[in-house]
Amino acid sequence: MQKKKEREGEKQSQLRIFWRMFFKNKLAVAGLVILILIILAAVFADFITPYYPEEQNLQGAFSAPSAEHWFGTDEFGRDIYTRVIYGARQSLIIGFGAVLVAMAAGCILGLISGYYGGAVDAFLMRVMDIVMSIPSMLFAIAIVAALGSNLRNLLIAIALSKIPNFARIMRASVMSVKQMEYVTSAKVLGVNNIRVILEDILPNSFSPIIVQATLGVAFSILTAAGMSFLGLGIQPPTPEWGNMISTAKNYIRDFPYMTIFPGAAIMLTILALNLLGDGLRDALDPKLRY
């Protein structure tokens, strides 16, 4: 019985090495915990906030942080704490949504490009070069300008601007895995192309993508907030960190707390994601393992 247990332990050990490396990195674990808390807050926003995010109370406008309003109220007397918590929803949806879309598209393009090479590769990479030559923030702005500014379009805009990133990383990873002798020997065994791609190449070229995805979420949230700040993203009265700061900007001389809290929320989220990304990268890097 004990022997079996031991064997099972060994069986998963590659994953276990990864987790052991990851959990040894206290900052990374802290990042993961913060991120989980933020996600939980966004999901259960209804239960942890005392007001409605769009509930106005003009008499109570511009009140400083107090026991009643932890982060104070804005120009319409809306509770900033409530709005910050609800704002997490927009940011997380855009962050994770855009990265999921970009990752899916980028990985498929990168896989095709890296595995087949040749003219297909040359064409796809040229297209990626073109998209990459437009700074991603400007590209997103151009797309939103064309499609109109709302959550969906913002998500599409950011996703499109991120695709080349994922495609390039995936391509490089696939190209290095393709050289591995286990891929050659699978082909020599007579395994067909699709199985080689699905069983040998994809699982082994995915780890750099995971790191990139984490950092990509951070980047997307920042971009989305920046766009909303410019008035090109999510429009008021929907609470969003970027547009909250944008409004608060007008009152910065007299009511600076209005700027502080949404900004701090963005920063905390990005910091958590960056910590997590660093931790994942270190844990996935075989160089640091020995």
Binding site: M21, K24, R289, Y290
Partner: protein
């Protein structure tokens, strides 16, 4: 002549890894006389390279620590020396060439400049003289049209040429000891023959001693005066080259010699296999490290580490088989 150039006493070196402390070198002692070629031979992970790098204190610390022991170079223990004092020794008194000539040269610096740099560290003189000397060194190690080659970058050199350049760099300040860490492992046979020949020729010229680290017993037989066989962080046998190959005493040495087919042997002779693998050095066995794989082991082999006994002709071996024989043989002589 009998004065020792380098004496290593009971050296213990450990490497910290996330799995635990690897005891890479576990009590190694040997000595080298001026002008001698001393070879340390063993398989990967036996601690031979760590020993070599420790002599120059090149290992980054952490993760590598000298736990115990002395390294006495020309009568002075260099273990307690500071980094600044070590710099005086490196390159001038002891220098080193490495296994992979492809990565051991700085890719973005001209080869001549890299040799010149070795000179500049320890000598003062006119820049032009230094450069001329580098070109001269390249010529000495057999690089054709050295003046042109000195202005090229390492990637324009072939593997053999780079190793020649490394040798030129190593010998730039006429050191008393050259440590060659697997200098020919990455090279082809015909190029290996050239490099070994070059090392011999340069040794004749400069009179330096050489520590040759290798896994290839053939290279040892070609080059060495004295040989130490290392296994799992310990030296199990030391003898002069002729003596070791003629009368290998330790079972590991014997089996290692029999495990590799020789070019001058007929093929009917069955290859001896050494079953199993070397032990992990994180928790090394208390007894003889080879006991687990040894075909001649007895009960006590696994219990305690056999002490090193000196037999006739300065032949040292750590094996219980010879413990009793040790005295009788000495009596015989």
């Amino acid at each position: 002549m009998d004065k020792e150039l380098l004496k290593v006493e009971d050296l213990e070196v450990s490497i910290q890894t996330y799995r635990g402390e690897v005891q890479a070198v576990r009590g190694v002692s040997f000595s080298i006389r001026p002008g001698e070629v001393f070879s340390i031979v063993g398989e990967s992970g036996c601690g031979k390279s760590v020993t070599a790098q420790t002599i120059m204190k090149l290992n980054a610390s952490p993760p590598v620590f000298i736990r115990k022991g002395k390294i006495i170079f020309e009568g002075r223990d260099i273990v307690p020396l500071s980094e600044k004092e070590m710099r005086q020794i490196r390159g001038r008194d002891i220098s080193m060439i490495f296994q992979d000539p492809m990565t051991s040269l700085n890719p973005s610096k001209k080869v001549g400049k890299q040799i010149e740099e070795a000179l500049k560290v320890h000598q003062h003189g006119h820049r032009k003289d230094m450069w001329n000397r580098s070109v001269e060194l390249l010529r000495l190690v057999g690089i054709p049209s050295p003046a042109v080659r000195a202005r090229q970058y390492p990637h324009e050199f072939s593997g053999g040429m780079r190793q020649r350049a490394m040798i030129a760099m190593g010998l730039a300040c006429t050191p008393k000891l050259l440590i060659a860490d697997e200098p020919t492992t990455a090279l082809d046979v015909t190029i290996q023959a050239q490099i070994l020949e070059l090392m011999k020729k340069m040794k004749e010229r400069e009179g330096n001693a050489i520590i040759l680290i290798t896994h290839d017993l053939g290279v040892v037989a070609n080059m060495a005066d004295k040989v130490a066989v290392m296994y799992a962080g310990k030296i199990v046998e030391t003898a002069s080259c002729d003596e070791l190959f003629a009368h290998p005493l330790h079972p590991y040495t014997r089996q290692l010699l029999a495990a590799k087919p020789k070019l001058n042997q007929s093929r009917d002779k069955k290859l001896v296999t050494i079953e199993g693998m070397p032990p992990s050095l994180i928790n090394p066995p208390t007894g003889c490290p080879f006991a687990e794989r040894c075909k001649e082991k007895t009960a006590r082999c696994a219990m305690a580490m056999p002490p090193e006994i000196t037999l006739a002709g300065d032949h040292k071996v750590s094996c219980f088989q010879h413990q009793d024989a040790g005295i009788s043989q000495e009596v015989c002589v």
